[in-house]
Amino acid sequence: MSWEKALIDKAKEIIDMYPQKRSALGPLLYLAQEKDGYISNDSIVEISNLIGITEVQVKSVASFYSMYKEEQTGKYLLSVCKSISCEINDSRSVIDSVKNFTGLENYETDTEKVFTFEEVECIGACGGAPAVQVNYETVEGLTPEKSLQMCEWLKEERPEIIVAEELQEKFGGVKSFDWAIKDNTGSSYSVPGFQNIGTAKEKS
């Protein structure tokens, strides 16, 4: 499906932030990802027209980075860290409990499109290992039980906006840092919540 006017306007605003149109490619791909939960070919065509590069050049970038999804994710993208710090803090059992609950293998999405599960490399939360991201909002200091509870909560509550602090409060443990600034923005789909491109969503 092609883009609505509102989305195109937003894209144009983003393009204006860069000296060259094509530099806006990264953020525009996030807009596409937020729209459909993956980078659709239709979106690629839109983006290519907007920034004046060919479709295959857009595709080249979109398929290079693993945070741009080529297939639609579920409402909640569960990215469980499998790198070293988490590994030595027993991320295996966190991974197992998430896998058990969702019944998903790596990169799989359930049929109702609620969860997508993936094992990822270090997400920069080693101080609070083991860590997990839900729609790129980070929770630290998880245990197998807490992660299970978190999944159940997501499944039942179906929150529209995921906010890291809320998850941390409800299910998290030790944290790497305390920034001491309250941040109640989060993300609404499998896209990081960026203020400057408008993917950050405020939870009232």
Binding site: I44, T54, E55, V56, Q57, K59, S60, S63, F64
Partner: protein
């Protein structure tokens, strides 16, 4: 600038230009460093690491890629050390991990850099026992190109070519790591005028062309260098032949012209040579296509000439003859005028079958430029036909010049792809639909900034057949007064300049129809031309040929013109004859013969010779070489004349620049109200193209171009189907939207059949097909 620096390679000193890459400096001194990704006509990327060499650094010896490292004074390089050898083995072992090694069924085997370099530098044995990566075997990425991703070694030559050189990046690397592959976007095939070049530069058999697939093994090919007729750039090519069949054309790197590249038309337009539709014996058309012997036909023709009462003899010539053939024709015509009998020939005239012919700039008032001036000029001015369609390899040179910072200014409104390259585009606000200036030349915005006191190369020619050329002369005069101007006359077709140099006076098709006097006896020769198709004068030419007393066509195929002839004489073409070719900068290049003459066909000059003999007009030549030495006498500067001998010297393989007096007598047309702009697109439906199966479909669609909103208020969409209605004519065509066009102008490709009967000065009604989905026209 000319300062050379010294570097030490493998213990001996060599000199190199400062700023050169190590790999280039070594190459210039005869030291070969193996490579896959580096290509001298493209930016280095350092993808493959095959070119690793050891250099001495303050911290000891280090391996560096020689294709991305520049030389410096006293640099010490080792290209053969044990460390280098180990590195080369390692690189090859890695490259072969996922390579399928299907050489026995691969077109590239035998001329494959991966195969050759594995032999020369490889480890000999593989330690890889795991499964190789698999992809679906060749996938078509366009009508003419196939891609086998398993064979690809990810050198990025093809993707860089399509981005840097041809500027249509429709192929790219997709995915990452082990899954990385070259591919196109779904439903967006690699439709580029230049796609065949990627097949030639791919260092493995990943990219192949449908025309050459499984046709031959490289060691079975006979090869000869030649010059392409595709456009008047005169691209240097290598013809590959096996068992007397042309199988492939490769681009050769000629520094002055194509620099190794070819358009796909230049590369694939050769299969017609072996078409079973080729005419191989003389045909008496008017006598139910009876086949004749050469002797019988020559009798017939010479009798006609000798017995017709003071005939006007017209020669409508094409652009595929060699200089020698034009010269022989010219001599024949000269001699005809000398026949003294009661039926003395009254006139002989040459008409070049090219609607874009005009008088051009050939007198001494202006200095003529060369293609290489693109690289040294400050500003390039372009007012001509669509360069990408008509002089594709010149387009690449212009693109390269712009990439190197030259400023391109474009006048007129027929330019599409090239518009994106321009610094200033003087379209409809400056130049009207009738090609006149809207404004005073000195008021053109920014023009003086780019030309005043600068080195300017102006590429000028007619952009459309019915263009009044006075504004072009006006512009050139203005440029000349304000800049250091050089001119490149933009005649686009084949050996046009050869015709102009070797025929005494050349006129255009318009002159043919206006001078044609049906009250006289008329004998017309069409020589490798099909003027009854492809010309805006086709209609009138057809009538004239019908009214003529005797028409002889020298051609390869039957076509609209031969239908009206009395006699068809089978001739030879590109690859079947030896001769010289003169390109648009008046560089003369060799065309070589590698194929036998089909059937009883003869070269054009042989017909002129036999006819002369039959009519007792004595000629003093008997071979191409003799013709060549005769025509060489007329070159202006006898210092470096383009004789066969000279051209075959190794130092002259890039051709010889030389000039002759040129006389073109074309009257200016003055059309006041252009509604249709006739253009030539690269692909059309000429006999040669429709008889070359690999590319025949590329020119088959009938379409018109216009901008989206406006042909007198009709709103159009891409690939709408419309009916063009003008008086009694109605033609159904597809619409291609081209936003660079001005309002109220229809652009029509005259080299596709079906448009001949439209009158460019009359308005055309458009009727959109009722259901847009229902119809598709092919």
């Amino acid at each position: 600038m000319t300062d050379q620096i010294k570097i030490n390679v493998n213990g001996s000193e060599i000199s190199s230009k400062p700023d050169q890459l190590i790999i280039e400096a070594c190459e210039d001194s005869g030291i070969h460093i193996p490579r896959f990704c580096w290509h001298k006509r493209m930016d280095p990327v350092g993808m493959c690491r095959m070119c690793l060499v050891e250099v001495e650094t303050p911290r000891g010896k280090a391996l560096v890629p020689s294709c991305t490292t520049k030389v410096s004074e006293d640099l010490v390089v080792d290209t053969e050390s044990d460390v280098v050898k180990k590195a080369q083995e390692g690189v090859l072992e890695f490259l072969l991990i996922n390579h399928p090694l299907d050489c026995p069924v691969c077109d590239k085997a035998g001329e494959c850099p991966l195969q050759d370099q594995t032999m020369a530098y490889g480890p000999g044995e593989s330690r890889f026992v795991e499964d190789k990566r698999h992809f679906e075997k060749p996938i078509p990425i366009s009508e003419i190109i196939l891609l086998d991703r398993e064979r690809c070694i990810l050198c990025a030559r093809c993707t860089r070519f399509s981005d840097e050189i041809s500027g249509d990046p429709l192929i790219e690397f997709i995915q990452r790591g082990n899954k990385t592959q070259v591919n196109t976007f779904p439903d967006e095939p690699f439709r580029s005028y230049f796609s065949g070049n990627t097949v030639q530069i791919c260092p493995v058999g990943a990219l192949t062309s449908s025309s050459y697939r499984f046709k031959a093994r490289p060691w079975d090919l006979k090869k000869v260098s030649s010059t392409s007729n595709c456009s008047s750039v005169g691209d240097s090519v290598e013809l590959n032949v096996s068992q007397n069949k042309m199988l492939r054309i490769l681009g050769e790197d000629n520094e002055f012209t194509n620099q190794g590249w070819l358009s796909d038309k230049g590369r694939y337009n050769f299969e017609y040579l072996h078409s079973d539709k080729r005419i191989e014996t003389p045909i008496l058309v008017k006598n139910s296509n009876k086949e004749l012997t050469i002797n019988e036909t020559m009798e017939l023709i010479s009798n006609q000439i000798l017995t017709s009462e003071n005939p006007n003899i017209s020669f409508i010539v094409g652009h595929n003859s060699t200089n020698e053939e034009y010269y022989a024709l010219n001599k024949f015509a000269e001699n005809l005028n000398k026949v003294e009998n009661e039926n003395k020939v009254s006139t002989t005239n040459f008409y070049l079958s090219d609607d874009y012919l005009y008088n051009g700039f050939f007198n001494d008032d202006y200095s003529l430029g060369e293609i290489k001036d693109l690289d040294s000029a400050d500003t390039i001015i372009l007012w001509a036909q669509d360069i990408k369609d008509n002089l594709p390899t010149l387009y690449l040179r212009i693109k390269q010049a712009v990439r190197n910072g030259k400023k391109l200014l474009i006048f007129g409104h027929t330019n599409t792809a090239i518009k994106e390259l321009s610094e200033e585009y003087y379209g409809e606000n400056i130049v009207t639909n009738n090609f006149e200036f809207n404004v005073d030349l000195s008021d053109i915005p920014n023009l003086s900034k780019y030309i005043d006191g600068k080195d300017v190369l102006a590429i000028v020619g007619k952009a459309s057949p019915l263009q009044n050329v006075n504004p072009i002369f006006q512009l050139v005069k203005h440029l000349d007064q304000n800049s250091n101007l050089k001119i490149l006359n933009c005649f686009s077709k084949g050996n046009t300049l050869g015709a102009l140099q070797n025929l005494d006076i050349v006129k255009g098709l318009n002159e043919f129809v206006t001078e044609f006097d049906s009250s006289k006896k008329n004998i017309v020769f069409t020589v490798g031309s099909n003027p009854v198709n492809n010309s805006i004068y086709s209609h009138k030419i057809k009538e004239a040929l019908i009214d003529s007393d005797f028409v002889v066509s020298l051609d390869l195929f039957k076509n609209e013109t031969t239908e009206l002839s009395d006699i068809i004489l089978p001739t030879t073409t590109f690859g079947e004859k030896e001769g010289t070719f003169t390109n648009l900068e008046m560089r003369t290049l060799m065309q070589n013969k590698i194929l036998p003459t089909p059937g009883s066909a003869l070269n054009e000059w042989e017909y002129w010779l036999i006819l002369s003999n039959k009519m007792n007009l004595l000629e003093s030549y008997g071979t191409e070489a003799e013709l060549n030495s005769m025509l060489c006498k007329d070159y202006i500067d006898n210092g470096n004349i383009p004789s066969f001998d000279n051209l075959n010297k190794p130092s002259n393989l890039d051709g010889i620049l030389n000039s002759k007096t040129i006389n073109i007598e074309v009257k200016n047309v003055d059309s006041t109200n252009l509604e249709i702009l006739f253009v030539h697109r690269l692909y059309g439906d000429s006999s040669s193209q429709i008889n070359s199966p690999s590319i025949s479909m590329l020119g088959s669609e009938r379409f018109i171009e216009m901008n989206s909103a406006t042909y007198f208020g009709s709103y159009m969409l891409n690939s709408d189907v419309v009916t063009l209605i003008q008086e009694n004519n109605s033609i159904q065509v597809n619409v291609n939207i081209n936003e660079n066009l001005p309002d109220n102008l229809l652009v029509i490709p005259i080299n596709r059949r079906g448009f001949q009967d439209l009158n460019p000065e009359k308005k055309v009604e458009l009727e959109v097909a009722k259901s847009r989905e229902q119809l598709s026209v092919t």
